[in-house]
Structure formats: C-alpha cells, structure tokens
Symmetry: D2
Subunit: 413 residues, 4 copies
C-alpha cells in the first residue's frame, strides 16, 4: 500500500461524502475515538475440548498480557483497555500493575468472574454456582464475585461482567424456576456489593457448557433479571451466543429501546460457536448491528457512551495478536460503514414503504471501501498504517518466542 495510493483513496472517498453532507474530519474523529477493550484471555491460544495447539511466546502472566495489549494499542490505536478474568489474572502487586498499564495507555475494563470451573475452591460448581440448589454453593459464588469487585476497585475498573455457565445437561436435572430465582437473588447480593459508579453486564448464552438448558439463555431472561437488580444492570450481547438464524441486530435495537444494552462481546461464528474472528464470517451482520447502534444513539434511545465494547474470541489456529489486529480492523470498518448510512433518506424510505431504496441505502454504505478512512484515522492517531504488515516485518512473534519460550502458555480459555 503506497502512500500515494492511500492519499488518492482518501481523496476519492471524501468526494463521496459531499453528497451525503458528511465531513471527513468528523468521520476520522469518530473512527479514531472508537476503542474496543481486549480480554486478557485472548492473548493466548484458545482451544477446543479436543485439544489445544500452542502458538509459542504466549504471555505467562498479567504483566506480559499487558505488554501484548500495549503493543496492540500502539500498532492499531483501536484499543485502550484490558478486561481481566479472576482467578486467572489476580495482580500480585497492584500498584506495579496500575503503573505498568498507565504507562502503556491501558485502563481496566469490566472485570470477569469465574464460577464455571473448579480451581481449588471448597465447593464444586459442577451442579452450578449462582443458581445452585445448595445455598452454601450460591453463597460461595456470590463471595467470589464480591472479591472480583474488590480486585477491580483497586485497579480502577468500573464494571463486572457476569457470564453464568449454570444450567443442566438433562431434563429433570434442574428446577428451571428455582434456578432462575436463585440466580436473581445471588445477583442481587452481588449488585448490592458494587460501588455506585459500577455497572453489571449480564451475558446470556443458549447452550454450552450445559447442553440441555442454560439458566440465562436469551436476552429476555437477562433483561428480566437486570430489571430486578437495578438500573446499572444491563444486558451484554455476545455475538456468538445465539440460536441459529437469530436476528441479532434486532435484539440490539430492542435492548436500546429499553436503555438496557450493557455492551458487546465481539466475535463471529458459523455453527453456533463463539470464537471466530469478528467479521470473518458474517461481515454484513456486523454492519447491520452498527447501524442499529448508531441509530439508537442518534435517536436518543440509549447514550453511545453507556455501551461497552470488547472482543471475546480466542481461537487456536491464529497468532492471537494477529487475530486481534484483524478483529479490531473489521469492527472499525463496520462502524465506519454504518456512519455512512444516509439516515434522512432511509427514514423517508421507511415511511414510504420503499423497500428497494431502503436496501440500496444500506448497501451503498456497506459496499463503500472504507479502508482508506480507517487507515487515515489510525495514521492520524499515531498508529501504523498497516499493523499486520508491521507486526510481521518486525518479527514480533519470533521475538516473543525467543523471550518467553516456545511452550509458554497463557491461562484462560
């Protein structure tokens, strides 16, 4: 990609904006300002129940995870926060971690608790945690979440993300209503333990690791619980947590209609999985989601600033840093394209029942090549024109392997 070609592309792109009454600098500013958090577990190779293939040079501790995210931030200028997972990322020296993060320009996004695994705690989560029929286990799980909040407070985090794996594998195993009630009460205790400037982000997922029923399977159940918690509890949408064919962009709109959208976990999927790189399978869906997000914010349904953004994918056939560079780029493109939608005309089409033109308007935005815009925004922010090319040219993975070892393995999924 020559500088000359980039300039010509930006120039032609900006010509297209005139008709739409959009200002290039405004667009650049919006794209530059859109930052997406990265979870600490995305920096190691993920795996499946059939095995895991190491990448080499994976970060061995929280410090090294911060290093990787710092690098990612420097190259891409699209991320400025990390989302930690407890117990995988308990900081040993809080001040040192805070200083390190601060130096790297990284803040601490929502904290993640873990009550889906046994890692030495007294009571097993085999039959559930916040929903467990056994009150002592529910209590243990609540206390774990309260500890996660405490750790987060020391780091400056402002939110707690709860993904609840609780559910059942066979009919009869769980009492649906009691499990839902127990979960609600457990979350009420957790909510009560959050500082007043925190929010609780409650995920839903229809299946896995439980394969007959999940306590919070859909947005409706998550919203039902959140309403019983308080206004700082909202629904988190993970793109990979839906039944086949679900219209996710509509769910986004429905949540914003209620001011109930906590934020996103970005990834992609083809078969109900949730770990493929964002935008790698269904880029048009991603664009349509951003159309709803922008529309909802413009209409005043829910404030843009109230929504959290995070990538949540960690597959095992890509270098994690390269994977994240691709994901950040795809998300930025989808956002940029959605900013190009001519909303005045679209609204008129909807009033006129002009289905054909409405489609044309959306596709006009989607078909526009926004790569020059995204690149320009990155360059203006001080990032690399082509982060992936830079990463490879500088042989960064090779250097990480040399430093951390071939078999260094990050904790997490």
């Amino acid at each position: 990609m020559s500088t000359d070609f980039h300039q010509k592309s930006v120039s032609l792109f900006s010509e297209q904006l005139v008709d739409k009454g959009i200002d290039l600098n405004q667009l650049v500013s919006q794209v530059s300002g859109f930052q997406i958090a990265v979870p600490s577990w995305a920096l190691g190779a993920g795996g499946t129940r059939f095995g895991r293939f190491s990448i080499g040079g994976e970060p061995r501790n929280l410090e090294e995870k911060l290093d990787d995210i710092g690098l990612l931030a420097k190259l891409s200028k699209r991320t400025d926060a990390v989302s930690l997972h407890i117990p995988w990322d308990i900081p040993q020296d809080v001040q040192a971690i805070r200083d390190k993060a601060s130096n790297l320009g990284i803040s601490f996004d929502a904290m993640n608790s873990n009550t889906f695994q046994d890692y030495g705690q007294p009571l097993s989560y085999k039959m559930g945690s916040l929903s467990n029929a056994n009150a002592a286990i529910r209590k243990q799980a609540v206390e774990h979440n309260l500890q996660v909040i405490e750790i987060g407070k020391t780091l400056g985090s402002k939110g707690l993300t709860v993904w609840l794996a609780d559910g059942s594998n066979f009919p009869g195993q769980a009492h649906f209503r009691n499990a839902l009630q127990g979960t609600t009460e457990s979350l009420q205790e957790i909510y009560a333990g959050m500082p007043e400037d925190w929010k609780l982000l409650l995920e839903y997922k229809p299946y896995e690791p439980n394969f007959y029923h999940t306590v919070i399977p859909d947005w409706g159940t998550s919203a039902l619980i959140c309403r019983q918690l308080g206004e700082r509890a909202k629904v988190l949408v993970d793109l990979g947590h839906h039944l086949p064919n679900t219209n996710i962009e509509q769910i986004v709109a429905t949540l914003m209609h209620q001011d109930m959208l906590a934020g996103f976990h970005f990834n992609d999927s083809k078969f109900g999985d949730d770990d493929l790189s964002t935008g790698s399978i269904k880029p048009y869906q991603l664009f349509l989601i951003f159309c709803e997000l922008i529309g909802g914010a413009m209409d005043g349904a829910q404030a843009w600033e109230s929504i959290s953004w995070m990538i949540d994918a960690s597959h095992n056939t890509k270098d994690p840093i390269e994977d994240l560079i691709q994901a950040l780029e795809s998300i930025s493109q989808a956002y940029a394209k959605a900013l190009l939608v001519d909303r005045v005309k679209l609204t008129q089409c909807q009033l006129d029942g002009d289905v054909v033109l409405a489609q044309e308007i959306l596709q006009d935005a989607f078909l526009t090549d926004v790569r020059a815009l995204v690149r320009e925004a990155r360059i203006q922010s001080g990032g690399e024109a082509d982060p992936l090319a830079f990463y490879r040219k500088e042989k960064i993975r090779e250097k990480l392997i040399a430093k951390r070892g071939k078999n260094a393995q990050a904790s997490g999924l």
Copy 2:
C-alpha cells in the same frame, strides 16, 4: 381393542400408581377435565404457498364449523370450545350461533383478529398493521381489533388473541424501535377497549410471513409489550414459533415464573414449520412442557386455570377431523404422563445433584403407557373408546362430502 384388554390395562396401570401414592379416580378426573379449544380454521384443509389439496366436505360456514367441533367434542370429550377468526367467521345471526353452540356444548374461546391479509379494507397491510409507519394504517388495524372484541362480546368470548405478522423482509425496510413502539401503542388502545374480564393473548413468532425481522419475534419482546399493557395481557406460546433447538419448556417455566403465560397453541414441527399434528414429531418435548406446566401450577407460580389451551395446526394431507382427534389424544397423553411424575423424589434429586435418578423419574412417567387411562377418562365422560375408529366405521367424512360437496372449502389458512 377389546373391553377385556382395556380393563386389564387399567388394572395394571392402577397398580403402578400405588407406589407413587396417586389415586386413579383423581387422575381420571384430571384427564377428563382437561379441555382444549379448537380454532375454526383447523376444520378445513390447510395448504402451503405451493398449493392446497382439498379434503372434501369441508365446512362452508360457521354453522358447519360448529357442527364439526360438536362432533369432535362428542367423540373425544376433550374439547368444548371454538376459537373464531375475524373476518373469516363473522356470525350473521348471533343468537342462532350462540344457541347452536350451546346445544353442542361448545363455548367461544379467545377471538382472533387478522391484520396480515388484505380482504377489502381501505388501506393495505402490505407494510404492516399495528406497527405500520403510517398512523392511519395503525388506526385501521386497531379498529379492526376493537370490532373483533365487539363480536366476541356478543358470543361470550373472554379473550383476544393477537398474532402479529408485521415485520420486514429486508434490512432497512423497517425501523425496529419505531415498529416496536408503534405496536405497543396500538396494543395499548386495543387493551383499553377490552372488557375488564377479558385477557389479551400476545403471540410471538421469529419469522414468516416476514423473513428478515418480525416485530414480536420472541417471548421476551412479547412480555416486554405485555408489561406495558397491563396484567391481563400475557404471552401466548405457539409450539411452532421458535428458532431451531429452542428449549420451549424452559420458556414456559420462565413465563410462569412471572405469571405471564397466557396459554398455548399446540402443534408440532421438524423444520421450523408450525402445522404438524401435535405430538407427531417431538412427543418427549410435549411431555416436558406439561411437566413444567403442572409444576408451575403446583408451586403456585401461576394458576392452572389462568392458562388457555388451543390446537393450532391445519396441514393438508390429513382429514382435519382425524388430525384433531390425533392431536387431542397426544395432548391428553402428554398431560397424563406428566401427572405421573414423582415430584417429591424429583425435587430431592435436584437438591442432591442426582442427575441420573432425575432422568429416571421423568422417563419412568414418559415410558408408562397411559392410553388405558386416557381411554377410561373418555369412556367415563361419555365419549367413544376409540374416536378415530368410530369416525371411520361411521364413514363420517363420506357423509360430510355427500352433504357439503367434494369441493367445499373452508375459509382460513
């Protein structure tokens, strides 16, 4: 089926009840008391967009539809109500219709409105009805519903079922949030027009006849609207209106947990369709749904009497009356089996985390052959031991064809 074998079967069945502390007469009484409404459109052959194959002798008007349901009631003793669809079933002489129904032991279940077709009304529903971007069309659709309520009042109905086909086929066509808001406001007007002893049953459906988005796609959206209407608005579950793999029994439990279950439209499906005979594809799912219903009522989550029951299926490869006989039998069996579940033991398994035994308890009930019980209940109520055999032996379809004609075609879907 000899009388002798029936008696032996009842006898062996009742032996099984002893251990469970269940009384046979109590069971017979419960099964006898469980009545399921039949919609007027189920008495003609349905069809697909690819065509329709006539059955012959279909009821040509509301009077003949009542005749068919009266016959069904007499043979099966499992139905005592009809659910009318307006404009297909507008009674010409209300008193005559009431008298006829009364003589047949048939009452009028919830009324059904139709704003998914154009049938001569001034404004087209092509771009939606209660959700339409055009206020005049919304108004027309509201008024249609109010008229349906008026008709229902004259017949003694106590409810209005709203199935809303509104949605869109292409991204951009509809404004999700506005459509949801418009629908809510339209329904508020309709709700305000209902008598105080009526309830509003609000369906959801993820797709068809719109194939990109449906305004009320899932239980969560239906419940969201109902909460804004009032406590007599509840969510109607149609078994065929779910995305692939949905855990419907959990939705039932979640709705009862909120006292939000309006009732059921029974049918079955394999591929996301909604017109196969109830119990013909997934009988175990039907049983699990009844387990939740009975459990929810026993626990006091929602009163059994507050739930409405209706069949909604009209496929075109079966004689509709035979189809309904089979459906009523399958539903009765599922209900009867669910009554056999040993709930004390099941609860203990759930507390103990005894997944294996919990499964055994449910399957013990499901595997029990309850046909003798259902038959006994029918005989004691004055119905036919074997309604289908009777129907065929008496050559009833042949007689209907002779009377009504080979090409008589019922209105409806």
Copy 3:
C-alpha cells in the same frame, strides 16, 4: 453518480489491479460476459401462505413476461434468457414467441416442470408425483415432464430443471427407500426422453412444502440419483434450500470436484426461506461461493461453461423488476470481487498454514468497491449506468399498470 466520479473510481480501481497483475479490460469483459437467466415466475409478486400483495401491472401472459425480461436485459445487460414453467407458460403460438424472444435478445433457458400442484390433471399429486407409491401417478408425472421437454424443444431450450416437492409430513407416511427408488426410476424415464444435447438439473431441498421428509433433501441424494441417470444429469444448487448453518460454498466445491454441478438458483434467506433478493442478507457467503466457482473452473475441476445460472426469488414486497435489477447487480458484484482474489498468494498461504494472510487475501477482494467496474462493464455493453434510477425516472411501473391494469396478476409462485 456523476460521470466524472465514475471515471475517477474506475481509474483508482484499475490502479489496484496493477499489483495483482490483473488487466482491467479482461475484467470488464468477464463481468460483461456473465449472464444470468430469469424465471418467468419472478416477474409477478410472489406471496406466502398467508396471502399475496399485488404489485400492479404484472405480466398477464408469456408475451408480457418476455417484454419484462427484455426490458431487464436492455437496462442491466446481465440477463439474456428466460426459464419457463409448465403449465404456467405454455406458448400458444410457438413461432411468435420465438420471434418475440429473439427480437428482445432473449433465449430459452432450462424448462421447469410442475408436479407439486393439482391443475386439472387426472390424478392428484397430494401424496407425491415421481415418487408416488402408485405407479399410475408416477407415470402421469413422468409424462408431464416429457411434455415439458417437447415444449422446450420447440423453443430451443437445452435443459430440464426438476424440483421435486415430493416427501411426507408425518413419520410413517412415506417409505423412504421406495420413494427414492421410485423417483430414480421415474427420472431415468425422463432422462431417456431428453435430447442428447440437453442436460437435467436436479434440485434438492430439505423441507417445504413437505415438513417431515423430502425425497431429495440434500446434495448427496441428488448426486446419488444423477449418477444413476447419466453424465448429463447434475445437481442444481438453490441457495435457499439448505439446513441452518450449511456451508454452501463447500458443497459447490464438492460438486465441482465430481463434475456434478448443474448450476444455481440464486436468492437469499435468513431463516431457511428461499425468496429474498440475492445478496440482501449474506453477501459474503455469495462472494465465497463465487470464489469456489472461479477456483474450480481455473483448476479444471469443472468447466465454467457447463454451469447454468438463474435467479429464483419472487418475494412480494418489492416491484419484481426492481428486485431483479438488485439481484443481478449483487451477483455481478460477487462475481467481480471473486475475480480479484490473488489465487497464487492464496495457494501459498494454504500450503504455509498462514490462516491470517489467507483471510486477508479474501477480504481484500471482498472489501474492494467493484461498483465502478460493474457499471463500466454495463455501460460498455450498452446498458444503463444506473438501471434502477432509470427505471424509476422513466416511471416504468406506472406505465405497466396503465397498460396492464392495477390487478393484473402473473401466474406462478
């Protein structure tokens, strides 16, 4: 779209081709040469089982259908053939129809038979046609297909497309193996009746209008039958005829690997439907399909010329001609983008296991804005720069309504 902007866009686009060693004129020529047939039933408003909303001015007979396709050909330069459906399109005066088509530059693509409806033939297809348990019905259905071939011969068609709706709605209704065997034998008779320069295109579809089982549900079954027919029988892929999440592009590759791909029916779907405009829901999937098509042809797996192309979609919320303009444009774009894939580099990535770069290569092609290229090809071919804008500016639908009437209704689905 100003001419100046178009020229600048073409110029910038062609700059991008240099690195890839692609010649602009070659590309233009490929895009211009890619022609997609239109079925006669796509020119009227389709509908669902819940109703149909008229468009107005629909073609009332075969002549008017040809007029509409002629118009479409003139504007878009992307179609040059019509696919007829019998009995909907039986020509009364063959020579006149041939002359008319010839004057419009339209040839006759594969013929379509209909054994899924009753339209006055002696025996009903209610329980199936080519698969029917009754030999007389199978014979009738075979003879219908032979008649369709005869009609096609008079028009110069060179193929017969068989979409078989046969199947069953309930377990037990059909004998799977007998139905498959009967179908194979019926098709052998039809195949034997085809001229030697014809091909038989055999569709598969997992469900609808039968909802428990379809005799030819998947590509494997279609290929199994084709192998028993002869080498001129191949598998037709309709994009909307797959189970949720199916990897269609892989099926295309697998069929080409066997030289077994007959061709395509283009449309799009979100929920297992098959009538949405091509490219309106999953444009990336459409691109990936073209990547396989081009790759398969380049590698010599199957000759490009042996593959047939047709649109098969007729939804009822768009003007059909506008819908087809959009579909032709989307297909052309997908094809053009797939031509941009750097196959040498991609192959190297596959050998190297470089998953990240392989994705980059595909996305680089997909993200490129090819609208200028497609427009340029159309202009050079003598078509309209913007067919949709032209169609609206010229008020063609209004003229058609004036001529044919508001309630003119085309035959077909």
Copy 4:
C-alpha cells in the same frame, strides 16, 4: 419393581402381541441378541473446553477400563465389546489384555485412530492430518492409522473407525477440493493396509473442532469417499453429527438403500452437541431410526449383521457407568418398540395414502411400554433385573473410588 408386577406386565404385554402375530419368545431373543459396543473413553468423565469435573474412581489404564465394561456387561447383558482408541489405549501386554477381555466376555470392536491432537508425534496436526496440504503430514497420519490397524489385528478387532477432525476455521484457510482429494488418497492407503476381513467405518461431522468447514461434513461426502475406497468402506452415523433439524432416520434409509451404512455412534443432543445420553432428549427420533434399520434389513436393502453398534457419549455430570446403563436401556427400548411396528399394515397405509393410520401404527408401537420385555430379556440372559438399582445398592462407585482413588482420571475425551 416387584417380581409379581414384572410377571403381570410381561403377561399383559404378551397379550398385545397376539393381534400383531408376534411371538414373545422371538422378541425376547431379538432383544437379548442386540449388543452394543462401548468405547474405552466413555468410562471416564468427559468435559468441555470450559473444564472437567472428576467423577472419582475412573479407570486408570486399559485393564481397568476392561473391568468397567465387564461389569457393565454382567449387569446389563447388552454389551459385549470395547472399542479402543489409539494412542490412549495402547496395550502393553497384548496377550494379557486378550485373556482378560476373554474372561470378561468382551471382544474388541472397531479401533479408533487419533489424528486430531498432538501427543508427541513429529509433525503437528494443527492444520490437518489426512487432508493436510503438506504431504509429509498426510503420510504421518496414514502411518498412524496403519499402526492402529496393526494393534487391532493383535487384539482380534475387525474394523477401523476414522473420525477426521480436519477442516478449517476461516474462509481461505483450506482448499476444499484439495483437502477432499488428499483425504481420499490418504484413506486409500489406509484401506489398502487393512486385512481383507476388516471394514473401514468413516464418520462425518459438520463442525467442531473446526468451525468453518469440516473435510467430511455430511453423509454424502463420506459416501463419496467410501465409493472410491472399496466395498468394505462404509459410512458411520453419529447421531450428534448433524445440522439442526436433520432427518437422520432418512439418512439411515438412504445409506441402507446403497448398502453403505457402516454403523452407529449412539448419543443424543439438543443443540448440535454429541455427548448427551442416548434417548435422553429425542427418544422418538431414536425409535424412528430403529424403524428404518429393521425395515431396511427386512426388505433386504442391507444385512442387519453388517451394521456395527456403539455408544459414543461421555458427558461429565453423570457417573459414566450409570450413564452407559441408561444408554443401553434406552437403545434396547427403541429397538424393542420398533420390532412391534405392524409392517404389513404400515405398507398398506403407504400404498393407500392413509397418513393418519400410518402415524397411528408407528405411535402404537412407540407408546407401548416395553420395559417389561427388555427386563425379561435381561433376566433370561442372566443379567440384573434393574442394573442401576443394583449398581447403587452395591455401592460400586464408592468401591471404585476406594480402589482407584478420588482423582483417578481416565484418558480420552
């Protein structure tokens, strides 16, 4: 379950057989003779990518696995073979293992190879094995399979099951046709290395652990490869390896129609998973599958004896031995019920187009309580009347834990 009640149940059951012209002893003999193999990996707790919960007392080596299967055989009398997985179950002392198995009445079913994990072999399977773009990796994977055959020969096994995890996670990663061709050639080498009295059982699976494409995703691809191998290569059906809504019973019929059904891996699933206990979710589907199996064998499509049977499920919330007891019971019930179908009447219904009666005939068999029959068959074979009750009464798991330890962990999935 009292002996008296069992006798009465058997007696009433046998009365039902008279009308159908079925002999009780014949039935008992058929049920007794139906034996299902157990894989070595089903004896430990499985897990998900989110973790694994130990059962305690899991078998620590092949000898202990044989002990567990011997116990299962003794209690249930429904299994007499084990299916080994290499490298997890490499026997150290072949003769000792053969003797032990022989003493327990256990033979060696098909062998399973593993090329989906890295376990110390020189070249990684991260980018595939039999399909790998790298010939050296394909060769290594072929040789592994040949070694598995050698081990199997020493044990008296007569088959090799190949489940190929190969595929890709992202578009572009794999070359579909080359991967298919490479796989076919690799399997040809393996097939050539099999003794002449062995068969090759080739699985298919649409996704997992690869989430964009699997090299052998469906029965059609598996059959395509098998045809190129030879007549001793056939398609293995794993119930959990299908896209949503797939009609699996039809696939069974289609394979038998071609004499291409290798056998089964039994399990159940709700969301596309493949590890739930057989019959726990969709018991009617399991029954319908057995209807096809029995019908196909009776009609001479494919010999019953040519089909292999195995359980393949290992979830982690049940004691594996209890899980297997439940699975064996469910499979036996489904088989027994399918034997009750009145095939003469069913065939007549299919000829008559009597859909209603066809459904009645299948459901009559399914609704019949066959537990007494299955129990009687087990008792007559010398097994326990109630294996699960016996296992618990004898506190077998507690004894295994005492002997093997709380944290003993079986190898495998």
